[in-house]
Amino acid sequence: MTAKPSLLPSVGRLLVYAVLALATAFFLLPLYAMLVTSFKDADEIRSTSLLALPAALNWSAWGSAWSSACTGVDCNGLRPFFWNSVSMAVPAVMVSTVWGALNGYVLSLWKFRGSDALFGMLLFGVFMPFQVVLLPMSQVLGWLGLSSSITGLVMVHCLAGLAGTTLFFRNYYAAIPKELVNAARMDGASFFQIFWRIVLPLSTPIIMVTLIWQFTNIWNDFLFGVVFSGTESKPVTVGLNNLANTSSSVKAYNVDMAAAIIAGLPTMVIYVLAGKFFVRGLTAGAVKG
């Protein structure tokens, strides 16, 4: 490009950078405010500005958020809720991923008559408002004896995530050449051998996407958590909400902010470490086919 040199491009570029900088401030402001607030004590919060750095790194709000802040009547901090979320998310993510891989494998490489229509119907599960399942599901969980249990939550998350994980794997496997599978069949490889020896070794990227995507969804879920969990099985999002909305006379914003960061930390860490896969999940979730 041999465009004539003019002033406009550099002014334009300046403008571009200015807008981007403004956007950066908008997106970082809450995180920054959360961080600095979590290190202030109550007096400092009242006397200093939202953006002011704390006088010292005061970790007491973090300790309180983790193990002694009150959520309703219990005063054990977020710790029990955090571990509930871990023991809920890990099995639910595993099961829904394996399940999605098998479904996706069949729906892309072993299509049968009507399989596309069935898939289309399953896909509605990605979009349906889960409010529709809340009331009947709580009855089902009651009948199964799984009300208010982590096992019940795991089950609900596996079912709710099924459509999405199937979609991920099906779209990914659609790119595998059919010839590869046919050639293997000629050589006498069975359905599971093909999956195990040929398809699965090619699947690392989509497995990563699905694991990260499911983990983010399940860890961040609030609706199922608040409806289906009991005192002993509340996930961390519900714990955080109870903590931040506990009506006490003195609001401890530093503790709320520390708690919010703790609740968001696992998904943030994953996002920073494996953002590439996270973004691919986002885009795959939006573009079907």
Partner: protein
């Protein structure tokens, strides 16, 4: 075909059968069940005595439901429109061979990794009148600055809009950026050779080419708006009063704290109908239009 082969031909179906049976029971079974509940007199507990359309009539006569719908309208337009607008602007700007593009993308998108409950908690602090942003601006030398939307019946829903946009604008940006990267450079080069200015090229060529991405993003954000629950619960809990109720919080309140299961089921059905009207044509066209490239 030998018997072994016929078993092999059944095997794929057998493998997906449990998933489809359970998945359909979960999606369509519970959907129908919820529909049935909405035609019953259920209050504290499910009660299958038929009530006809009574729950729906009651629903549409409730002020609170209308408030929820109005809020969904404001939130939907503000959240979807705001996220799309900010998303497309940021994507176009990032597409200008920006230094540190990767870092900026990471910053714009990180809210999407957070739970809406975390977002709500954070913004509740920022929007807190007396502390938060109000105090910050006052400390800057504007002692009369007021920003009390969060506790203002009329304005509180806009706080939900702001926090929602903060959460999702980066998502729109990511999709638009992916779309921009997929556009053939040679078209742009050709237009440049013809002497078209950069803004003009974007307006006339690039943005129209992004229409499918725009449409997908609109779909995803709209259905998120209709389902929106966590953000409202964490930020305003539907308050002040029920000023920021949306259908999802209405459904929750009626079903699980007011003992109005039939009414809750009816409101859930209305949500389902709205999402279905939006998504089914979209899914249909997406699934129909693709097979040729396979």
């Amino acid at each position: 075909m030998t018997t072994k082969n016929s078993f092999e031909s059944w095997l794929p179906k057998l493998v997906v059968a449990p998933a489809f049976v359970l998945g359909f029971a979960f999606i369509y079974g519970l959907m129908v069940w919820n529909g049935v509940l909405s035609f019953t007199v259920s209050r504290m507990l499910p009660n299958y005595e038929w009530a006809g359309l009574a729950q729906y009539e009651k629903l549409w006569e409730m002020d609170r439901w209308w408030v929820a719908l109005k809020n969904l309208g404001i939130f939907g337009v503000g959240y979807v429109g705001g996220s799309l607008a900010i998303g497309v602007v940021l994507a176009v700007l990032l597409d200008q061979k920006i230094r540190a593009e990767g870092a900026l993308r990471t910053i714009y998108l990180y809210p999407m990794a957070l739970s809406f409950v975390v977002t709500g908690t954070a913004w509740k602090w920022l929007l807190n009148p007396g502390l938060g942003i109000e105090k910050m601006v006052r400390d800057w030398g504007f002692p009369n600055f007021e920003f009390g939307w969060l506790v203002d019946t009329e304005m509180a829903i806009y706080c939900v809009v702001i926090a929602g946009i903060w959460q999702s604008a980066g998502f729109a940006m990511a999709l638009f950026l992916a779309g921009l990267r997929g556009i053939d450079d040679s078209i742009i080069k050709a237009a440049q050779v013809d002497g078209a200015s950069l803004p003009r090229i974007y307006w006339r060529i690039v943005l129209p080419a992004l229409r499918p991405v725009f449409f997908s993003t609109l779909m995803v954000l709209s259905h998120l708006a209709i389902k929106s629950f966590d953000l409202v619960m964490a930020l305003t809990a539907g308050g002040p009063g029920f000023a920021t109720d949306v259908p999802a919080t209405f459904m929750y309140t009626m079903s699980f704290s007011r003992g109005q299961i039939g009414l809750g089921a009816a409101s859930a059905t209305m949500m389902l109908a709205t999402v279905a009207a939006l998504v089914i044509p979209y899914l249909y066209s997406e699934l129909r239009s693709k097979p040729h490239d396979r």
